[in-house]
């Protein structure tokens, strides 16, 4: 099993009504690999990650995790399989605390009979949230602060921290450096490197090409729903990457 790719897509296609969002998309992703997923708006990046994370089902094609064909009925299934996704701008519940967001869908319950009744262990969640975020190199103010009280950069940090903390196989980051300053962006890139060290596979979706070139091992370029190029990062320059995305160069 060790040489089977962590995640493999075979001929994935998906359309919304008359719009063909993805056509025959195939690629392999291995453990410890950071893969850049780039493309212009409407190239199909968001649809692709929603297929991988189980938000949408593909019309056709296969999705394999560790060499096994899998079908997601809901995002819950992909999470169970160790795939975590950071969605662009919408991954957190703003009215809930940091701790509540980190543990959303995986709440820690009280020990004993109260836990069986569904009582939450609020303090344990808040404490562990801070500890785990700290482990992945993210420091945030108190775990009981609500997300709406955080700055854009802090929110993003919490969202990334949650994804890295729970991911066992694949972590998908959709525009994680959006709205971030230079230093915060560097911190995000460091978190990505740390995730690679842990043997995770990172799918990094971004419009900020220098970031993609800086951190990725491989770059996959999507255009109009198809993969047009999939090569090691060293074979790209900013200009050639831009040209491939826009379709101006071959």
């Amino acid at each position: 099993m060790s040489n089977a790719p962590l995640l493999e897509l075979r001929n994935i296609s998906k359309s919304y009504g008359s719009v063909q969002a993805l056509t025959d998309v195939s690629f392999k992703a291995h453990a410890g690999e950071v893969i850049g997923l780039v493309g212009d708006n409407g190239a199909g990046k968001s649809t692709l990650i929603k297929v991988i994370s189980g938000v949408h089902a593909p019309d056709s094609g296969e999705l394999l995790v560790n060499g096994e064909a899998r079908h997601w009925k809901s995002p819950h299934d992909s999470m169970e399989a160790g795939i975590e996704t950071l969605y662009q701008d919408s991954g957190l519940a703003p009215h809930l605390t940091i701790g509540a967001n980190i543990f959303l869908g995986r709440e820690l319950l009280r020990r004993g009979p109260l836990g069986k009744l569904g009582f939450l262990d609020q303090r344990r969640m808040e404490r562990q949230a801070l500890e785990e975020l700290d482990k992945v190199g993210i420091s945030v103010p108190a775990g009981r602060k609500t997300v709406s009280d955080l700055s854009g950069g802090q929110r993003q940090a919490v969202a990334i921290g949650r994804a890295v903390m729970w991911a066992k196989n694949v972590i998908i980051l959709d525009e994680p450096t959006n709205h971030l300053g230079a230093r915060q962006s560097q911190e995000v890139l460091n978190v990505i490197r740390a995730a690679r060290e842990q043997g995770l596979c990172v799918l990094f979706i971004s419009h900020t090409l220098p970031h993609v070139l800086e951190v990725c091992d491989r770059i996959v370029v999507l255009r109009l729903g198809s993969i047009v190029r999939d090569d090691p990062t060293s074979t790209y320059t900013v200009e050639s990457l831009l040209g491939t995305i826009t379709g101006l160069t071959k």
């Binding site: 919408s90 703003p94 009215h95 869908g105 009981r144 009280d149």
Partner: protein, 340 residues
Amino acid sequence: MSVQSSPVGTAASATTPKKGFSLSTLATNQLTILLLVFIALFFYFGSQNVRFFRTGEISSLVVDFSGLVLLAIAETFVIVSGGIDLSVGSTVAIAGVLGAEVMNHYQGHIGQVPLLLLGTLICALVGLLVGAINAFLITVVNMVPFVATLITLSAGAGYALVVSGGGDVGDNQAAIIWSSTGWWIFTWLSLLVLAVAVITCVILHFTRYGRYTFAIGSNDFAARAAGINIKRHIASIYVLSGLLSGLVGMFWFIRIGSGAPTTGDTANLEAIACVVIGGVSLTGGTGSVLGTLLGCAILTIVTDGLVFINVPPTWNQVVVGAIIAIAAGLQAFRGARSRR
């Protein structure tokens, strides 16, 4: 029940300096303000008319308050989850009328206690059914909650009229007499209602069920992406709302000794008013049962107190409107400030 391990305390105090506090004080502030408003109103009406302070008057305040509480809590769950339930009032009517029909049939054949328990069961079942219809329309047919519950509002109120023939159903004097017995300022009925209120408060604020309710209202996409089965959860909230409304139907049957098709007429708006006064945002994701309870208390004391300062009851609705305007205005002001 507290967690034993000592690091919790140290970690919490180390990691929650002033910043963590500002939020909790903000939340408590709102409840404190509501409580102060309530106390001020209480003493104002009392100062205008000393009879207001008599145990009997306070007891009747508690009864009127109890009639609102469960509907307002039902509405709180729904609104926290980002929805709206317009059918709570008509569910009260249809449950009360159908419960009364069944009790009418058995009255005299079985004892009073089994009769009322049977009525409670029927009211609960009717409420569950209406809630299930709402849940079906919203999560399976994918109607927006406003439209789905508008349908059950209209159909439920209409069906209550059809079944009852427009008049009151049943005549149970023993129930009325029991409804005024109790302890101190509380009738047994009020105590039952308050017990249910405490349970629902615990569910909303301390359990996973409540957490998912807030999460869905705050950001339903995030909740879904976190693996929460949001359709099932939303469905269960409307069923819960129906159940509580059905029980309120029984509450009114006991108070007036019959099922009246008109009991829930203004209840929808009053319930929503209590929730808004209590600080629950109609956009979902925030709110508390405690705030809603204070909202109910304020609404009750104002509508009951007006009588004591010789304001004709015809002004009630206008005053309720004014209170909602003040509460919602404050909320909008706060919202605008916190978004900056």
